[in-house]
């Protein structure tokens, strides 16, 4: 399923969270892939509740940030942190357009997850990598950690920005 999305819409999709720096980080990381905006992002979806499709091809339009702001952000955060933040943006887009899910809160420490999704409070773990070759290890590590600790439903979203592509799955 192909869909045009705006990073600037994330605060309306998940209004309980802060998005400004996450959106800017996504604009930086997607912009460094070498293609022009809007950026195409292939997100595979597996067992996501209320979503029948197996993938989302997101055409992501960034807001028009001043270059000075983006440059300052690049100096402020290490590249790996920017990738991590950009992954949160992709997960937020995927959850909203893949079934209308909402990130409602921050997950508790020790839960091996980052956020809570929907009123059901499903855990969501997000990881971002700059290289495609690091995707598999990141996916396997997180899936194992979550499986060991939780029997209830949880989401896992791992993305890489070399292709760029990723996977959003729900486990229960």
């Amino acid at each position: 399923m192909k869909i045009a999305v705006q990073l600037a819409d994330l605060p309306a999709m998940h209004p309980r969270l802060l998005w400004h720096e996450i959106i800017a980080a996504a604009a930086i990381v997607l912009g460094e892939a070498g293609t022009a905006a809007p950026y195409s992002f292939d997100l595979t979806t597996q067992n996501v509740p209320a979503f029948e499709q197996n993938n989302l091809i997101l055409s992501i339009a960034p807001p028009d940030f001043p270059n000075t702001y983006l440059e300052r952000l690049k100096r402020t955060y290490e590249p790996s942190r920017l990738v991590e933040l950009a992954a949160i943006a992709v997960a937020g887009l995927g959850l909203y357009h893949g079934g209308g899910h909402e990130i409602l809160d921050i997950a508790l420490r020790g839960s091996s997850a980052d956020y809570l999704v929907d009123e059901a409070g499903h855990l969501l773990e997000i990881a971002g990598r700059s290289r495609r070759s690091d995707f598999r290890v990141a996916w396997d590590q997180r899936q194992q950690r979550l499986r060991e600790r939780h029997s209830d439903g949880y989401y896992l979203c791992v993305v890489e920005f070399e292709t760029p592509a990723g996977r959003l799955s729900f486990f229960h």
Partner: protein
């Protein structure tokens, strides 16, 4: 006599979540002074929420908020206070010892949660 209805404020939850986020972003920037301010604010808000949840009969959410408060105090540098809070929670909720120990183990090994 009318019974006062206890509700938990959505706005309070949102502000708390955003304070934790601000703290996390500051940790990512290695701005630990700012992180401490925001995480302390979040810790106190979690304590208010814990009481509201308790009044509303949501004991599981009250425990979660108290655990989160302890975690925020720890990350804000109030480690002794956080340890004591976690000890108290173990005494009060012995059936939740594993969950509480998991939070403490995570904080011991990675206090700023910068491993993703």
């Amino acid at each position: 006599m009318a019974t006062a209805q206890t509700t938990v404020s959505d706005m309070l939850i949102t502000v708390k979540s955003r304070e934790i986020q601000r703290g996390q972003l500051a940790e990512m920037r290695a701005d630990f002074s700012s992180a401490s301010r925001h995480l302390l604010a979040a810790a106190h808000l979690e304590l208010v929420l814990a009481d509201d949840y308790l009044q509303a009969g949501h004991n599981d959410l009250a425990l979660r908020s108290r655990l989160s408060a302890a975690s925020c105090f720890w990350r804000a540098g109030r480690v002794d206070h956080a340890r004591q809070m976690l000890e108290n929670l173990v005494q009060e909720h012995p059936n939740q010892t594993a969950t509480i120990q998991q939070v403490r183990a995570d904080l011991e090994s990675n206090p700023t949660n910068l491993a993703s």
